[in-house]
Amino acid sequence: MRQRHEFHVDSTRYLDDHGKPLGELPPQAEQTERTLAAYRNMVLTRAFDTKTIALQRTGKCGTYPSVLGHEVIGTAIGQSLASTDVFVPYYRDQATHILRGVSLTELLLYWGGDERGSAWKHCPEDLPISVPIATQCCHAVGVASAFRIRGEARAVVCCVGDGGTSKGDFLESINLAGAWHLPVVFVVINNQWAISTPRTVQSSAETIAQKAIGAGLPGHVVDGNDYFAVTETMDQALARAHGGKGASVIEAVTYRLGDHTTADDATRYRSAEELKKAWERDGLKRLQNYLHNTGLWDPEQEKRLQSECKEAVDRAVEAYLATEPEPPTAMVDYLFETVPMALQAQRERIADKYRARTGQGGAA
């Protein structure tokens, strides 16, 4: 006697590689202001990215992970999130952070080796950048649990890379999200690579979205270079979460157009042709084409936007470079709410050495 249990995941796409609609667009396409704001954020993100890489190359910033190729996804996420929601990032979510109100200067401080880069003034409940892969997924379900416990109609969006979906944290967390019916949306940013490891080495699953099935959750694949597809999917998943209908997993398919970080050299492990092909699918250019084609954007506006973005980035860089490092005593001051007895002698030693080196008394 046999019985069959069936499952599926759908994938969505609205625009072709040139920005031409493949059919009817989702209702989000009528929100012109939102679409234009999205485009502006993508351009700003890319300008920031280019500049930060340049800073790193000239020794003015630390190792930095380029967001090139992720702008559409990050922007759509940032727009879909309510300000009362909580965003749980990984480390390549610059586009979303900017929409959440993290300042460019704060982002630079973080990658420039200064803890104050995570002391965001805006969206103070958002989690900081998470470097240990996939660990943030567990925090996301914890935050969503807090909402459920308190009966708040808020939701969480958690980002993770394709590589991160091999790690227990992701798999355990989506399972809990299903079991506890939590208001959380997991967005897997499948950029085809985890440093040098291609998507196919991570898993023989045809899609990453199908990992949702084992957690009892709906999974969706979406073209991550298609602003309307990502936006519609995010809006629906968040509506579901806000409406108490539970969690979802979205696989947003894109391509990491840059090196893994400024410490990486991607030519070691992937071909120029592959990269060239990926550029043809670039989501920023695709949306730009769409906007041009529909008359919502013109070269003049583009020029103005480019220079506005450049200025914004330059201002941020200036502020970043002008920020004095913290006195080293800060390394002890934020460990606990108050400095414990056991650490006070060490704190004094740090302060003494700092004074001796700089002549400054501020650290005491």
Partner: protein, 341 residues
């Protein structure tokens, strides 16, 4: 809700004085704090319906509801990490690891996130959470159920590691741990979960963290211990009294950050120290204490600081576990040695 659950819960009405065991004191502290602070939640494997495999959380689900008392799927990494997510939201989660031997999957979350959230966000977010785990050997348990690896957590800056050794201290220190705005690893010596009862007032009074407790004053030697070994240490002190040796007994209680002042004051008086712990010797918390005393009390010491500990090997299965655990006679012998010098 069965009868024993009801009894346990019934306990936490105000200012009752009860003769209770250490594990009952844990239950009483949880119940008190949950009743007085609705941001306190508890989670773990088998802690809700079953009340925990050691019954530490019995009755809490019935009293505070499943939303605040959560049975989790079986995944310690997830428990450690989800707890962090709850804590940054202002809840005060108390997560149970069923045995310390199963806490290691949670290490990454503890080391890389719980211990660092406040520091890396410069205070924007912080983690008022407690990770509870029964620990230690001597209860005839299967493999992996007898670990004493407090030193692993004590070496992680940003974590507090707190170990009660009596019902009273379990009650007061757990309350303090829950109220503390930073992460606390709270290790419960399961060998003495039910060893003794003590009269404890259920009035919500916390005890101070980061402080040693001097259990007995003495002049000839300072005995330093924590957790279940406090029992053997006190018994050794009794024996020594019979031999005319006056031992001061200190329960370290918070093994990190360490209250060196209390220890050094005592050694300044006695000139001798013997440290007793169940964990293996090399790199145990005893090493830090011995190193600290030997450095800071160099001129006070009349004998080397000696450690009476488990061996540098894996806790044997139970047929041989007593051969691993430090015994009263080992402590007495060590004291005799340092006194002879």
């Amino acid at each position: 809700m069965n009868a024993s659950a009801q009894k346990a819960v019934a306990r936490s009405s105000a200012s009752e004085v009860k003769d209770i065991t250490l594990v009952e004191a844990v239950n009483m502290a949880l119940a008190w704090e949950m009743a007085h602070d609705e941001s306190v939640v508890v989670l773990g494997e088998d802690i809700a319906t079953n009340g925990g495999v050691f019954r530490a959380t019995v009755g809490l689900k019935e009293r505070f509801g499943y939303k605040r008392v959560m049975d989790t799927p079986l995944a310690e990494n997830l428990i450690a990490g989800a707890t962090i997510g709850m804590a940054v939201q202002g809840l005060k989660p108390v997560a149970e690891f069923q045995f310390m031997g199963f806490i290691y999957a949670g290490m990454e979350q503890m080391v890389s996130h719980a211990a660092r959230m406040r520091n890396r966000t410069r205070g924007r977010l912080h983690c008022p959470l407690v990770y509870r785990a029964p620990f230690g050997g001597g209860i005839h348990a299967p493999e992996h159920h007898s670990e004493s690896t407090e030193a692993l957590f004590a070496h992680v800056p940003g974590l507090r590691v707190v170990i009660p050794s009596s019902p009273q201290r379990a009650y007061g220190l757990l309350l303090a741990a829950i109220r503390n705005p930073d992460p606390v690893v709270f290790l419960e010596p399961k060998r003495i979960y039910r060893a003794v009862t003590q009269s404890v007032t259920d009035n919500g009074d916390a005890l101070p963290l980061d402080t040693c407790f001097t259990l007995r004053e003495g002049d000839d030697v300072t005995l330093i211990s924590w957790g279940a070994s406090i029992m053997e240490t006190l018994q050794a002190a009794d024996k020594l009294t019979e031999q005319g040796i006056s031992a001061e007994v200190i329960d370290v209680a918070t093994v990190s950050p360490l209250d060196r002042e209390t220890l050094l004051c005592s050694v300044a008086k006695t000139g001798r120290a013997v440290i007793v712990h169940e964990a293996c010797r090399s790199g145990g918390v005893g090493a830090e204490i011995a190193a600290s005393i030997a450095e800071a009390a160099f001129l006070d010491l009349q004998a080397p600081v000696v450690r009476v500990t488990g061996y540098d090997t894996i806790m044997p299965y139970y047929r041989n576990e007593q051969a691993y655990l430090p015994q009263v006679d080992d402590i007495v012998e060590a004291v005799e040695q340092v006194i002879a010098l």
